[in-house]
């Protein structure tokens, strides 16, 4: 009898828990009536999803949200102007590129979210993207274990390997696991100017920096020794990084178009959409462009996989390129309250699900394992989920933008042959050491590469 009662109780408990879960998943969060807010947001490929989810928020809650949509290049200046303004910031939430967050954290321009609402927390299902939303003022480093919560990611870009599934099947080629496999496939697929075997960005600046990280990380390289513990010894001219750069150059030159050294994101997407690109690596946010019938000639033909690696049993080099939504200090109290309300709603499962359906890249793990992953238009989701566990947050210090530019130039010089790979990396190491020295860091260099 006792056992029966216990079983009944257990069953009732399970039903209640399930019902609670179902209700939680089925209903949108009620955040109450809020003052209108304005969000500074970038016109990136995932913007449409954000616009859709904001429209849903307005519909669900009756609260008004204005979007200040700005091209990528104008975002930083607009965010700076807003937080530097002596009076009230025109934006209640500002979206900041991951690399630039430190400038805002260190400058004290943002309000820690728990100082607005002590109860606010980012749900555990939301990816932390290398703790880019937290700031430890004493350590001057982004970490959630000891730092304050300053923001959260509305988008976590990583790069995925894209390939023409139909072409690989037709030619009897395997999805490459290593960069050497890429070269093997490329020999069959490269037929310029009709088709290009592998596309990766070589354009000077952030483009080549970010695309090269897939190689650098996979080959076991690093830019500095251990920034988290304050050791800024420059390691970018290590033999591992040289091997990575040599491979990057080989792939670019033998598998890309003639303008491989100036290939940007727009060019890459265009080449894939027109069917010229056969394989590529690009950010996950690029994927919806391949399936857009208005723009693409290869709808449904491009699949996504985990990035190629240095060795078959190694790890892919996954550099996280995310954004952080944060609240400026100089926002009105009502604005701060409204921003927190929106953030709570936006990070719920239901909202994130709708965000993905609308064309956004969700940031909750449970959305990636939902039924969406089985739908054809979300066929990139399993690759993303497999990769994200290897994701690394780089340049998490105030000198990050300067290091990014120094590397973006030297890598491009190596790619065009202006410098040898060893000379380019040695020069990059000298540049980066000077940047760290100016910032007062404990720095130095490893032994230079033989040029």
């Amino acid at each position: 009898m006792k056992l029966k009662a216990l079983a009944l109780l257990l069953a009732a408990g399970t039903v209640i828990a399930w019902a609670h879960q179902a209700i939680a998943e089925d209903s949108f969060l009620d955040v109450g009536e809020q003052e209108p807010i304005t969000i500074l947001i970038n016109a990136s490929p995932w913007y449409k999803g954000f616009e859709n989810v904001v429209a849903l928020y307005e519909e669900q809650t009756g609260n008004k949200v204005d979007l200040e949509v700005t091209p990528f290049d104008g975002m930083l200046e607009k965010a700076r102007s807003a937080v530097h303004a002596g009076d009230t910031s025109p934006y209640d939430l500002v979206n900041i590129n991951g690399t630039s967050t430190v400038e805002f954290y260190k400058g004290g321009f943002l309000e820690p979210l728990n100082e607005i609402d002590p109860q606010f927390q980012v749900p555990k299902e939301v990816y932390s993207f290398g703790d880019s939303g937290c700031w430890d003022e004493a350590k001057e480093f982004r970490t959630c274990s000891t730092g304050k919560l300053m923001g959260y990611s509305p988008n976590g870009n990583v790069q995925l390997f894209y390939y023409r599934a139909d072409v690989l099947k037709e030619k009897g080629l395997e999805v490459p696991v290593t960069f050497d496999d890429v070269l093997t496939n490329c020999k069959v697929l490269q037929n310029p100017p009709e088709t290009y075997g592998y596309l990766q960005r070589g354009e000077k600046g952030d483009s080549i920096y970010y695309d090269f990280m897939a190689y650098l990380l996979s080959y076991g390289g690093s830019i500095e020794k251990d920034a988290a513990t304050g050791d800024y010894t420059v390691t970018v001219n290590s033999p591992e990084v040289k091997a990575a750069l040599d491979k990057f150059i080989e792939v670019s030159r033998s598998c890309g178009p003639q303008n491989f050294a100036s290939l940007g994101q727009g060019d890459l997407i265009q080449l894939m959409q027109t069917g010229k690109g056969q394989q590529a690596h690009a950010v996950v946010a690029a994927f919806p462009n391949f399936d857009d019938p208005q723009k693409s000639a290869v709808v449904g033909k491009i699949n996504a996989a985990v990035l190629p690696k240095a060795k078959a049993d190694g790890e892919p080099g996954v550099a996280i390129g995310n954004w952080v939504l944060a609240v400026p200090k100089n926002v009105s109290d009502d604005g701060k309250k409204g921003a927190i309300a929106f953030s709570k709603w936006f990070l719920t499962y239901k909202a994130q699900y709708a965000y993905a359906e609308g064309g956004g890249i969700p940031v909750r793990e449970d959305v990636f394992i939902s039924d969406l992953k089985d739908k054809p238009q979300f066929r990139w989701m399993p690759a993303y989920q497999q990769e994200i566990k290897y994701g690394k947050q780089l340049l998490g210090y105030s000198e990050g933008p300067a290091v990014n530019q120094a590397l973006g130039l030297r890598l491009n010089q190596a790619l065009i042959g202006e410098l040898s790979s060893a000379a380019a990396l040695n020069q990059a190491a000298r540049d980066i050491e000077a940047i760290f020295k100016k910032g007062g860091r404990k720095t130095g260099q490893i032994a230079p590469l033989a040029e």
Partner: protein, 304 residues
Amino acid sequence: MTTGIKRTGSLSNFADRQFHWLALAPACIFLVLLTVYPVLELIAMATSTITFERAREIWRFTPVENFRQLLDDDIFRIALKNTVVFALVSVVIEVCFGIGLAILVSSAGKAKAILRTILIIPILMPPVAIGSMWKLMYSLDFGVLNQAITLIGLPAVNWLGSTSLALLSVVIVDVWHWTPFVFLILLAAVEAIPNDVIEAARIDGASNRSIVFRIIIPLIWPTIVVALFFRTILAFKVFDQIFLLTSGGPGTSTEVVSLHLHKVYFQQNDLGFGSMLSLAVIAATVAFIWVAYRAGRFVRARDA
């Protein structure tokens, strides 16, 4: 009573004597506020290191460090060289084309108005539209230029991705964009030349070539100098089209000072060194114009 009249009279005299100062005062105040103050602020910033802490600016006076950084900046030296080459080549071509077009259009009769309208279209276009349009035209795989080139059996040209062609490609866009500006200034000058002068030369048997080189160009020379002056300043500040077309690459082949300054100032947020670079750009522009002016005077003195 007499004293009162005298005093009123002297006050009135004083006001009359000083009226020009009173009249000039608003303009002087605006000049100081809008020109002198920003330059002084720029100098103050150029000699400082500016950081932000607790939402406040912190200034440290570091003129030597900033100047040393300028001397050590090898990218700046390359950018300066590229800027001078860019300015020299593009301005010379624009002025030559501008003179040619001004003379041709001024003698175009009834078609003058329509030609003038068509020719000034490029300067009416926003720089962002120009950059985007030319980027599409220069596209290796899809650009109209390469489509035309490959149609006649020649290989596609890597306009923006080749270190030897990228700067030239940017010069072509600049020439397309700014020649109409030079043309417009010079057209007004050509049209201001009295017909009698040209007719007299023709009666004396002067050929077209002689009329252009011995009459028209010498007569519009002061206007050409003004056009050169304006264009040189603008060419030194070139930013939009290079930013949109090449971002300074490949390598350092199209890196110019404004682009370098933008990276330091806005992307790296290094306000002190960025301001030092701004001062260096101003100094380089003034030096370039001074050298050009002296060279022009020397040539004219030799020819006189």
